[in-house]
């Protein structure tokens, strides 16, 4: 077991972990933050995507022990975030989720697209979403939701 100290959703966390425990299991099993979902567990499906030091990362192939000093933000950490609120609303309005399993990871990537690529068009949004698999809604609603928030965001930045 190894001691780690990190920040999760703004709170300091100290724990002792086995090196083999990945970040998603640490969050779900140790901290009971079950908003981060696990799909493929090899970095392909994107369900476990969260923010580490402000940038999206796969929590299934990031070991908790390697997150010493990191600032981790899960979907639960975005409750008061106006941009995530706008994305949630747009996902709901555009029917961008059905079973919801991919949604926490989708929202992480969506937020990254909006903040990093404010000029993104539909083709770019689709390219950027290649790392988040959805197996039930079929992406049309997801892409539409993100595009609508991009438009709001661009408007807000201009005003």
């Amino acid at each position: 077991m190894k001691p780690i100290a990190l920040t999760v959703n703004g709170k300091s966390v100290e724990a002792s972990v086995q090196p083999r425990t990945h970040l998603a299991d640490f969050l779900r099993e140790h901290l009971r933050l079950t908003g981060t979902n696990l799909g493929c567990e090899h970095g392909v499906c994107g369900a476990c995507t969260l923010m580490i030091d402000g940038a999206p990362a796969r929590s299934c192939i990031t070991f908790a022990v390697a997150c010493e000093g990191a600032d981790v933000r899960t979907i639960e950490g975005f409750d008061e975030d106006p941009l995530m609120d706008a994305l949630r609303e747009a996902f709901s309005a555009e029917h961008a989720l059905q079973c919801g399993y991919c949604t926490p990871g989708m929202l992480m990537s969506a937020r990254d697209i909006v903040t990093r690529l404010p000029a993104a068009d539909e083709a770019r949004v689709r390219e950027e979403l290649a790392g988040n698999l959805c197996r039930c809604t079929g992406y049309v609603g997801i892409v539409r939701a993100i595009l609508s928030v991009l438009e709001q965001y661009r408007g807000a930045r201009l005003s």
Binding site: E41, T49, I52, A57, R58, F63, A66, E128
Partner: protein
């Protein structure tokens, strides 16, 4: 699946990292973990010890050496994509970086890690061979430099010796007239490629190279690709792909021919 048990150390000096890697235990270097993580989760590799090099700040450094740029091994794909590190390639490296896996992977995956892992389909394996970069490698007995063009010897196999660590890459600067072209076949953005074609035409430096990438082993370098670049026509491309070990008429031959042809057409 879950990774098997292993020990973990995060040294803060290069010397202690090399000591851990050169010890008696079966040790693996952990950089961004974007290839090693999946291999561990699949239990395809079961090391005794992971040596996390994220504490080695000198491996994240970059420097300009006049005719080349040195990028530390820990530079991430997204740092290259975003232009946060010096660029010897007039935008080529950033274009390549954008096509590697997915942004969440690029944020943690590193240049050195990708080369050390040596998946034949990895973009940097092909691109660094094309640009004639060299790897700066440190071991207990000191530093040596290895040409990227012959670094990968087979699938997941390199010329790194046990206990050695990639510390950086020295990438020659392209001249102002240089043009580069790249094409990879994959079914969706970010997937492992079936074939990669990479070409460079830099008359000022007398460099006209092509690389057939995403082979079943080492990238196939064509050091004098003048004919192939000039015409972009079928015959010289087909001959080159045959020399790389692909039999005419097979899917592999066709897809590699098409990748090179499209790379030539995309020279910019």
């Amino acid at each position: 699946m879950k990774a098997p048990r292993f020990d973990y150390e995060r040294p803060t000096t290069l010397e202690s990292a090399l000591e851990l890697l050169g010890g008696n235990r079966d040790a693996r270097v952990l950089a961004g973990g974007q290839s090693l993580g999946p291999l561990l989760n699949f239990r395809m590799t079961q090391p005794d010890l992971l040596v996390d090099i994220s504490g080695l700040s000198e491996l994240a450094e970059t420097r300009d050496e006049g005719d080349a740029v040195v990028l530390g091994a820990r530079v991430t794909h997204s740092a290259i994509e975003d232009g946060r590190v010096p660029d010897p390639s007039r935008g080529f490296l950033a274009r390549i970086a954008r096509g590697i896996a997915y942004r969440a992977v690029r944020n943690r995956g590193t240049l050195g890690g990708s080369l050390a892992h040596a998946d034949p389909a990895a973009d940097w394996v092909t691109v660094m061979a094309l640009l004639d970069a060299s790897l700066i490698v440190r071991g207990a007995s000191g530093e040596r430099r290895l040409p990227a063009a012959s670094f990968v010897t087979g699938p997941l196999t390199t010329r790194l010796r046990t206990g050695e660590l990639i510390v950086g890459l020295r990438i020659p600067k392209l001249s102002s007239q240089a043009r580069t072209g790249y094409f990879k076949f994959n079914r969706k953005p970010g997937e492992f490629a079936d074939a990669i074609g990479a070409v460079i035409d830099d008359p000022q430096r007398g460099v006209r190279r092509a690389v057939i990438g995403a082979t079943e082993g080492a990238p196939f370098v064509i050091p004098d690709a003048a004919e192939l670049l000039r015409s972009g026509s079928e015959a010289p491309i087909s001959r080159a792909v045959t020399s790389a070990g692909f039999h005419a008429g097979t899917y592999e031959h066709r897809v590699h021919c098409a990748a090179i042809k499209r790379a030539v057409a995309r020279l910019q």
